[in-house]
């Protein structure tokens, strides 16, 4: 805001004046809102609408035929198979990491916290290439693993591994602030009352972090279903075998079967929108969880 555009106090009491002082002039507000709406409309809403329009262009019968094509059904099944496995692995890792970081002081704690973010920073394609370098046929560990009868390149295992890698931060990142805000007081109290570790986890910790955990799971799931880059490199994109939904979409598009590509894309988009609705709802509950923790801390120990 230019300095001369400061609104003048209308003298309607200090309360009104202070509220006005924080507000930009109407034209600035409208300009900003309009700019946001325009960008969102152009870059987000329009493409989503286009996906559905394109998918249904040749009528519902074609759409149905497109999404019931055997290889497409296989890709849907594969995505719905990979995502839950990745989520489970992430929940276990996320709980362990959040527990370690929020409950213990140890050497390398900061490094661990930073490392958890690494998958966010690294491009998925790079992850895929690095993975091939390690587990590929000419890779460092590939031949050794093959001699043991384990193959982890160009198959579903490879997809699961790289998808886990790229989604690793989601659950941990959600849980660390929640667990730090809640603190360990209640867990220690449970110990003093005679609870064992298992009882503490199920009866105290989990109920306290459940919404944060669910939020992490939702984000992780969304990312896992949409994963393309790393999966593209390591899966080999074998039709009917290692094609997940995003890979299938790309494949159909490349084969000039645009309506089919958009049909699958519309399904993936629907999954994403569903996730988004869930996310908004859970986000509200997570915020409540943190606020309650803060309020409990306020009214609790003052020293």
């Amino acid at each position: 805001m230019p300095p001369d555009a400061r609104p003048k106090s209308t003298g309607g009491g200090s309360h009104v004046a202070s509220r006005l002082a924080q507000q930009d002039p109407a034209f600035v507000r409208w300009l900003l809102i309009l700019a946001c709406v325009a960008v969102m409309g152009l870059l987000v809403v329009l493409p989503v609408v286009a996906v559905f329009a394109e998918a249904f262009r040749e009528g519902f019968a074609t759409y149905w035929a497109n999404i019931t094509e055997p290889d497409t059904i296989h890709s849907i099944g594969l995505t719905l198979f990979v995502a839950p496995i990745v989520v489970v692995v992430n929940v276990i890792f996320g709980l362990a990491a959040a527990w370690a970081i929020s409950r213990f002081q140890f050497r390398g704690r900061t490094i661990l916290t930073t490392m958890i973010d690494l998958p966010f920073a690294v491009s998925a394609v790079v992850v895929g290439l690095a993975f091939m370098l390690l587990f590929g046929q000419q890779g460092l560990l590939g031949p050794w693993l093959k001699s043991l009868g384990i193959e982890v390149a160009f198959n579903v295992t490879a997809i699961i591994l790289v998808t886990t890698f790229v989604t690793l931060p989601f659950v941990a990142r959600e849980l660390i602030p929640v667990m730090e805000a809640i603190g360990s007081d209640e867990e220690v109290a449970a110990v003093s009352l005679g609870a064992n570790g298992w009882q503490i986890f199920w009866r105290i910790t989990l109920p306290n972090i459940k919404w944060g955990l669910l939020y992490g799971v939702i984000l992780c799931n969304a990312r896992a279903m949409g994963e393309y880059g790393a999966a593209a490199v390591v899966s080999g994109r074998i039709e009917g075998k290692t094609q997940t939904m995003p890979l299938r979409i790309e494949y159909l598009e490349q084969s000039f079967n645009s309506p089919a590509a958009f049909a699958v894309a519309s399904l993936l988009t629907l999954l994403a929108i569903g996730t988004l609705v869930l996310k908004v709802w859970v986000e509200r509950l997570t915020r409540q969880e943190i606020q309650e923790a803060a309020r409990a801390a306020d009214t609790g120990g003052a020293h």
Binding site: A189, S192, G194, N196, N208, A296
Partner: protein, 352 residues
């Protein structure tokens, strides 16, 4: 159950939290661990409960070594400073928690919880969540929760710390009464000397990881063993002097005291505000000429502040309202101050 603390030491990094502490808590006593923050009192309490492990030393319950036993096997009720109530559980569930995790028969849990809630005067509130309770109510839920498992001792960490002044006074009288009824060995931590003296049978004053003095409240208050205790018990006039002929000399004033030091020793004198007398004329006892700088007569005692200009010494004096009315003191009055009692410590007295 009696507790014996046998040469316990604990270090956190470079900080010596507890330094070779020995203490015995007799069965059925109500003992206060009193000290400033960082004195190690909470650490000691947590070590007694098994929530913290000592670097060296032993903890014995009834002469049985429990040093390596986890808290679950110690059967101790612990009330946390922050109460640490389970926020997603109702009052009833909070109190029942210990019984449930110990797999008490279902039929016994409900009557036991209801009895406890009645005892802590929370009957009718069992369905409330911790967030809907006042500070004093939460404190009592924490207490009921700790007592539910029939502990052999009760440990309380700053139990009144987070409460309003009024609730605090009520609750500590109530705790005293409760202890008189159920006679459970109780140890509580506090930094408030008034609280310790009012509630406890035994007061243990701690400083820098060591016990400075342990004893009955009256004994500790009347005969502080160290300058720290003297200072910590609050509100004391301190001055530096020199010992000569069995008396401490401060400028022109010579004061007799009980105890003996070699002549020429540098020593510190401690006089409590109520142990100083004030008058318009010099008395037979050794008196110090001073000027009144401040008068505050609001309260159960009149607080007078004087300065002995000769020595640059400021003193706080408490006198009764009657005496105050009699003297008609005003700011700027010239007065004579004489001590009724004095305690003298020289640095050699408390060399470690």
């Amino acid at each position: 159950m009696s507790i014996k603390i046998d040469h316990i030491s604990k270090r956190f990094g470079g900080f010596q939290a507890l330094d070779d502490v020995c203490l015995e808590v007799p069965t059925g006593s109500l003992l206060a661990l009193l000290g400033p923050s960082g004195s190690g009192k909470t650490t000691l309490l947590r070590i007694i409960a098994g929530l913290e492990t000592a670097d060296s030393g032993k903890i014995l319950y009834d002469e049985i070594d429990v040093t390596n036993k986890p808290p679950r096997q110690r059967n101790v009720g612990f009330v946390f400073q922050s109460y640490a109530l389970f926020r997603h559980m109702s009052v009833y569930e909070n109190v029942a928690f210990g019984l449930k995790v110990r797999r008490s028969p279902r039929a016994e849990i409900r009557p036991r919880v209801m009895d406890l809630l009645k005892m802590v005067r929370l009957d009718g509130l069992e369905k409330r969540m911790p967030g809907q309770l006042s500070g004093g109510q939460r404190q009592r839920v924490a207490l009921a929760r700790a007592l539910a498992v029939n502990p052999k001792m009760l440990l309380l960490d700053e139990p009144f710390g987070a409460l309003d002044a009024k609730v605090r006074v009520e609750l500590r009288q109530w705790i005293r009464k409760l202890h008189d009824e159920i006679h459970i060995t109780t140890v509580f931590v506090t930094h408030d000397q008034e609280e310790a003296f009012e509630v406890a049978d035994q007061v243990v004053v701690m400083n820098k990881g060591k016990i400075e003095q342990a004893g009955a409240p009256q004994a500790v208050f009347d005969a502080p063993a160290t300058p720290f205790v003297m200072d910590f018990l609050g509100n004391v006039n301190v001055f530096q002097g020199r010992v000569e002929g069995g008396k401490i000399v401060l400028g022109g004033m010579q004061l007799a005291y009980s105890g003996s030091h070699v002549d020429g020793t540098q020593a510190t004198g401690y006089i409590r505000p109520h142990e100083l007398d004030i008058d318009h004329v010099a008395s037979a006892r050794s008196s110090l000429k001073a000027r009144v700088t401040q008068v505050n007569a609001a309260g159960s005692v009149a607080k007078i502040r004087v300065v002995a200009e000769e020595f640059g010494l400021a003193l706080n004096i408490d006198i009764s309202p009657d005496r105050y009315a009699e003297l008609q003191l005003k700011r700027g009055d010239e007065v004579y101050v004489s001590p009724k009692n004095i305690r003298v410590f020289s640095p050699d007295d408390y060399v470690i």
